[in-house]
Amino acid sequence: MTCDEILESGDDAAIAAHVAECEACRAIRLLRSAPWQEPPADAWEVHLRRRVPRRRTWWVAGVAAAAALLIAVLAGGWAMTAKRYQPMMIVIYDVSEGSPFSDVGSSE
């Protein structure tokens, strides 16, 4: 029988007899009695929490895109109605002078 098998046999007399003679078993019993160490309580908060990124939530990206689109629409609408920018956005020509495109295609 190996040391492990004897130690796990539950036979106290056999264990005592074996351990009295076996240096390895004394070491094994010492290791098995080793106190369980508690990891540092702040390991997560101090060292890991900031290094582990949160999940990329698609709804955040969706809300951001919708907000950007809304802002673009509002800005565009405002620009269309603002007198200052109207000349830049709408070509207004005087009908009495004829269409500015009437000469298109003419050789003269």
Binding site: R32, W36, V52
Partner: protein, 178 residues
């Protein structure tokens, strides 16, 4: 018997792993809470120093975070975790052994004063007298209470190989106390 924590339920681990792999930080935190003691104890017994063990604890969990998408659930999460821990412990232990006497002295000076009692000192002395692989096997078998099958799975070697290696560990332990 060692005062080990009870092993967390495997199914719950798998669910947490699935969520953590999808980016759920709370699930990852839950895995950390369940298994950090195992990682810390293996690291502490392998390296013999709380400061080193704390550093290794962080390193291991950063690796877990990076690689968790590759965990397929073919083994227990704790086995996969111990495998990462043991690899890093052996590498770190070899580095520490190669360091100069000055650095070793500095490491012992920075050890928190509340650390080991007499029996803990004896445990560390016995473990420190073993070569890296034997120390890892002794830690896994006797400190964390892993079975031969679990050790074989963790190290990725046949059960027979683990048994023959454990025989050599016993021989090394026999000499450690004499």
């Amino acid at each position: 018997m060692p005062t080990t924590v009870d092993a967390p339920p495997v199914d719950a681990d798998l669910e947490l792993v699935r969520r953590a792999a999808a980016g759920d930080q709370e699930a990852f935190r839950a895995l950390f809470d369940r298994h950090s003691a195992l990682v810390f104890n293996v690291a502490y017994r392998m390296l013999g120093n709380r400061t080193e063990a704390e550093d290794l604890l962080q390193d291991v969990w950063m690796v877990v975070h990076r690689e968790i998408g590759r965990f397929r659930g073919e083994s227990r999460f704790s086995t996969w975790l111990t495998s990462i821990t043991s690899n890093r412990c052996i590498n770190r232990s070899i580095q520490v052994r190669r360091q100069t006497a000055h650095l070793e002295k500095h490491a012992s000076q920075t050890r928190p004063p509340s650390e080991p009692g007499e029996s803990d000192e004896r445990v560390q002395r016995v473990l420190a007298s073993l070569p890296e692989e034997a120390r890892l096997l002794a830690t896994m078998r006797y400190v964390t209470g892993a079975s031969y099958e679990e050790i074989a799975e963790t190290l990725g070697c046949p059960l027979g190989t683990v048994k023959s290696k454990m025989y050599r560990v016993h021989e090394a332990l026999r000499k450690a106390l004499t």
